[in-house]
Symmetry: D2
Subunit: 137 residues, 4 copies
């Protein structure tokens, strides 16, 4: 579910995907990354937790075009006490070409919620999100 | 402030404005329509009120293109106890050409909040939004 | 591939899916509807053909929320010489609840390209798109 | 025309502006930056020229919320033979608070079109775009 088809909605009059839309795909990638580790953004949302992006560096290498099937690859680059930096690439499925390289996505304060979540992100082990966090993030 | 410029973000690979985006302009038109009558969507939002659209009929007549300046015209068509039907047109400013005619936008339950608001919508007179509604909408 | 997950990108400050975004899902539904019948929007696009929406009637029944999995169902309602009217519903996958009913999407001039395409749409049989249409649509 | 109002379309279920949408405002800022210097993106588009973004670094400082009026400030940071790096800030108009700092937007190959355009960007003097560029960008 980290694959996504490019429709007209994604493109602009330049004939390629509009540059802001890659950030939508990156969000999808992060959401599915969390889901695979037992974290639901819906549960987080219902408990009042957000995962704000603090900083983003993004290189646009090759544009995606109409009807492309793309995939978002997400890996953890660094975890500190209050931030989580992810490596994310948007890849064209047909030939594996890297389209976008978002090499330092800092998602702020993601990990203040406890060791369980931090461990889930860090080790990719699957955990249940704690029912209630002592410190909102 | 019901005018709006068309940027790349608004267009798609067909070279014209993507069809869903006109609904964004219609929302802008409604928001400014309400603002001109003393109703702030932000205040409404902070008080927990939403103005859901229940039904929309939209005719796409002429496409807007990159760098067009458009305007949204909004008028009240009908008001009942629980709904408000608006006429909205998206017009190209340069020559007045009608691009989109959304002739029956039903905004549900908008007017349950009291006579003051209802009167404001109906008569286009400027009123202050009541501090607290007895019936949320 | 007519299923789609709801992410933050789809929602608005009202806590539900922004009303214009359902039109993006309807486009996805039409695209996959055509693909299943051997018609690629990319091929159409590269040959300079667009499929404009002329008119849309949409009823908003139940809002989709964050992390919902939705599905778009598309059926042909009527075909005339120059238009194709589709019935489309956005459905919540978990319980089959209908969220949006777009009951008369008129896609203009879709069928001027020849009997092969018309038959494909009408009968849902799978055909190859003709290499070159004599009349653009 | 580099000011912009925040509507529901801009926000997400987190109650603030969705992070990808700031890139739409940055595009608006660039477009108006060029317009003020005699460059029309529509003319560029009709002549087949695009201004791709190659790299973006963006810091999210303070979120914009519903009904905020924002402004995009754009200045040139560096110009090389084939790239133009812009400083762009998204500012809340009411109090001048900086919301987003996009400090290195590289717009690739913008300036290959000739000295007139390059000078326009560099000096902020107003020039007419040359009728036809010898080297597309």
């Amino acid at each position: 579910m980290t694959e996504r088809r490019i429709y007209y909605e994604d493109t602009d009059a330049g004939g390629v995907v509009y540059y802001a839309n890659y950030l939508r795909y990156l969000e999808q990638g992060r959401t599915e990354f969390l889901r695979a580790r037992g974290l639901s953004v819906r549960v987080l949302h219902e408990q009042g937790y957000l995962i704000p992006v603090m900083r983003l560096e993004i290189d646009y290498l090759v544009p995606a075009v109409l009807d492309d099937l793309i995939r978002v690859d997400t890996t953890v680059q660094e975890i500190t006490g209050s931030t989580c930096t992810l490596d994310q690439q948007v890849v064209r499925v047909s030939d594996g070409e890297m389209l976008v390289d978002a090499n330092r996505v800092g998602s702020g304060q993601l990990l203040e919620c406890g060791k369980a979540v931090q461990k889930a992100i860090a080790t990719s082990s699957c955990v249940r999100f704690p029912e209630r966090c002592s410190h909102p993030f």
